[in-house]
């Protein structure tokens, strides 16, 4: 195999005027693919392979113990016409995305602006503020959150100092989802770091010129900082939206995998998990996964399409 390939490579060099397509690919790209190989094997074997399998399974009934039965588009039909839980989980996830992403970005930007004032010990603060993001998706933090927002948890003990008797936040259907949104906002570290880098890129002389012209701090923020930061906002918004759609661990831990009380924390991913590993409907769960992929794709495409109206690249 190697010998023959080398040979064809050599003959291709001789007929340099009309090299065949394959030999050209071999000569130019082979080293590249060779270096890619470890990733490529993983990508094909662990990502593309399972994805294709899941696409097939999404058209079947499959309970793990017996072989899959082809049911056509039944799973998708049921989802959109006859599954209130699908819509309930969709509502919860949408609510979470719509509130957690903008709030998290606003908070991250505010902290980044605070840190961008040339204060001493910046690397330390940066690391400290980033810490929650490193811990964020972990089981330990979710358990900690459960304790903080429990009926006799930290939050209510603080409120009691002010004479307010708080509810049990995590077990009340009106507030349970908000505890998860706050948890998500608390993990503002990674967009903050990116905002900080973006803020550093803005030339200082613009602010100096604006100050000379008598522009207020707020005006400087609206007219200089925000427009020049839009590419970073755009990037952060897309990444965080995808993350929010995929969010699973906190809801799973805090509700004990149930999505309760009254399905108020039944994230789409949690419903998918329940269908797959709680009730062993792998086919239906696969269909749910593909609908989520399509949904995230549509959201991202929509962001890119509208970006030309509000994202300013300074070129």
């Amino acid at each position: 195999m190697t010998a023959r390939s080398l040979q064809s490579g050599a003959s291709a060099r001789e007929r340099a005027a009309t090299p065949s397509l394959w030999s050209r690919i071999w000569q130019n790209d082979a080293p590249g693919y060779l270096f890619l190989l470890p990733w490529l094997i993983g990508f094909l074997g662990l990502t593309i392979g399972p994805m294709i399998t899941s696409l097939y399974l999404s058209f079947t009934d499959f309970d793990l113990l017996t072989s899959p039965d082809w049911v056509g588009a039944n799973n998708y039909m049921r989802m959109f016409t006859n599954d209130p839980k699908f819509w309930a989980s969709m509502r919860v996830t949408m609510f979470f995305v719509v509130f957690s992403v903008p709030l998290k970005l606003a908070f991250a930007l505010a902290v980044a602006m605070l840190l961008n004032r040339g204060i001493k010990g910046l690397p330390m603060y940066r690391a400290l503020f980033y810490l929650p993001s490193l811990l964020g998706a972990s089981v330990a933090i979710a358990i900690l959150w459960r304790q903080i927002f429990a009926g006799d948890g930290l939050v209510n003990k603080l409120l009691l100092v002010f004479g307010i008797e708080g509810p049990s936040w995590i077990s009340n259907p009106k507030t349970s989802l908000w505890t998860l949104i706050i948890l998500s906002i608390w993990q503002f570290g990674s967009p903050m770091i990116i905002f900080l880098a973006g803020l550093r890129q803005i030339p200082q002389d613009m602010y100096e010129a604006a100050s000379l012209d008598g522009a207020s701090k707020w005006r400087q923020f609206v007219k200089i900082t925000l427009p020049l930061l839009t590419p970073v906002v755009f990037f952060n918004a897309i990444i965080q939206t995808i993350e929010a759609f995929k969010s699973f661990t906190p809801a799973f831990i805090i509700s004990g995998g149930t999505g309760n009380p009254i399905n108020s924390t039944l994230f789409y991913t949690l419903y998918l998990y329940q269908e797959a590993f709680g009730f062993f409907r792998m086919g239906y769960a696969s269909a749910l996964a593909w609908v989520l992929l399509a949904l995230v794709g549509i959201f991202t495409a929509f962001s890119f399409l509208t970006s030309k109206y509000w994202v300013h690249y300074d070129e």
Binding site: D63, L64, L65, T66, K85, A150, G151, P167, S168, I170, S171, N172, P173, S255, G256, G257, T258, N260, P261, I262, N263, Q274, A276, F277, G278, F279, F280
Partner: protein
């Protein structure tokens, strides 16, 4: 998740086996270097189980590699292993799943070993029958248990309320609840947890009314009128402050640590008789046990002696006879019996019961006496529930119970949605 493979012991065990094999003293199946065992439960169960596997390895030479998970994580893992053709040799099985696993050959019939390595000649007949599917034996019951009401007797004493006896009714519950409210101990401890979305409690109540959750052919065995009455009754108990609030009850997400009894929010909790041991390790107060309340004085038949769990042998196991030999050891060896106690329920062999009885601590004694003296509370064993019973429990009984509890639905709306939803899930399976 915890996997226990003690490498040194494993090596010692297997080399001892090779030596013994060379000497030609071991039966042929003992060539198996090790057996894999999987079960659900907590640390207390794991400690007891592993003590017995060590005894078995010492006695027979076969090493046993154990693994245990919490109930919720156990079934996904087992199904995945089974689908991958990688199921363990010995599988702890539940009454809820045994039919499904047996019909798909995921667990093996054990009849060929009965009378051989498996001696069941004196095994309790009802427990033996509980492990049969289509007349073939697929699971060995590890103990009998029954649903039971755990009673925090210390709290009752503190409140100056007389604890209930097996004769008590839902009216008695109302009186106890009022008394607890008046006593107002420990920051407003209630008499009982909210049982409105407890499947065993609903079933017990239905059975006392001559109905049940499911029929033998996997249909619903109760109707909307029953469900309306059920939800209305719990609303009354909740409004009167007899049971905990919906908000408090929602803290309970499954683990024993989150139950109202352990959190000290209620003095009683519906549970299973064998779980008294586990609950007692989590609370300081002394726990006792009575039957579930009766719907009216003198009405019984709600309880049944159910196999608390089985050991089954994996359908794809290459060491079925060795696994059956371990099962026999597990249920009959006197030393093993002393270690296991009644943690998995009341042993089903009379000889084992005799060994166990004098060694039991006070709590285990209570559980043993309770199951042995159910009297007129005891009814017939219901048929195994349909495959989707678990889903109906998790996504309907629990969720709708909460909706009614929080006032998002009236009992009528809740009952309607429960029946319609359950019928939909049953027809879909």
């Amino acid at each position: 998740m915890t996997i226990r493979i003690d490498r040194r012991k494993f090596l010692m065990g297997s080399s001892a086996l090779v030596a013994a094999g060379a000497a030609g003293v071991m039966p042929s199946w003992a060539q198996a270097a090790s057996l894999r065992l999987t079960f659900w439960g907590g640390q207390a169960r794991a400690d007891r189980t592993y003590a017995v596997t060590d005894l078995y390895t010492a006695a027979k030479g076969t090493a046993i590699e154990g693994e245990f998970l919490a109930w919720n994580d156990y079934w996904p893992k087992l199904a995945t292993q089974t689908a991958g053709g990688n199921a363990p040799d010995i599988i702890q099985m539940d009454y809820r799943y045994i039919v499904e696993y047996a019909k798909r050959n995921a667990i093996a019939p054990l009849d060929e070993f009965v009378g051989g390595v498996l001696d069941l000649s004196t095994f309790d007949q009802d427990q033996l029958d509980g492990g049969k599917v289509d007349g073939k034996l697929y699971g060995i019951s590890l103990g009998a248990n029954s649903v039971a009401m755990l009673v925090n007797t210390t709290a009752f004493e503190e409140a100056g309320v007389t604890p209930p006896t097996n004769d008590w009714t839902f009216d008695t519950l109302m009186e106890i609840g009022e008394a607890f409210k008046a006593a107002n101990i420990r920051g407003g401890m209630k008499a009982i947890g909210d049982g409105s979305y407890s499947e065993p409690m609903l079933q017990n109540w239905l059975r006392q009314r001559g109905k049940d959750l499911y029929t033998a052919d996997g249909k619903l065995a109760f109707d909307e009128a029953d469900a309306i009455e059920w939800y209305t009754m719990w609303n009354k108990l909740r409004d009167a402050g007899v049971c905990v609030s919906a908000e408090d009850q929602a803290i309970d997400t499954g683990p024993l640590e989150t139950t109202m009894l352990v959190l000290g929010k209620s003095a009683m909790l519906q549970s299973n008789s064998n779980q008294l041991v586990a609950f007692q390790t989590l609370v300081q107060d002394k726990l006792g046990m009575v039957g579930f309340p009766r719907v009216a004085a003198g009405v019984g038949g709600g309880h049944y002696r159910k196999p608390s769990m089985f050991f089954s042998v994996g359908g794809s196991s290459a060491n079925k006879e060795a696994a059956a030999d371990f099962l026999n050891f597990f249920i009959s060896d006197p030393e093993a019996a002393k270690v296991l106690g009644v943690e998995r329920g009341i042993p089903c062999l009379p000889s084992t019961r005799e060994v166990v009885a004098p060694t039991l601590d006070e709590q285990s004694q209570v559980a043993l006496n309770f199951v042995a003296n159910l009297g007129d509370l005891l009814g017939a064993l219901p048929p195994p529930p349909p495959a989707s019973a678990g889903e109906i429990d998790a996504s309907l009984i629990r969720t709708i119970g909460q909706e009614v509890g929080f006032g998002a639905k009236t009992p009528e709306e809740g009952a309607r949605d429960l029946i319609a939803g359950a019928n939909d899930i049953l027809s879909r399976a």
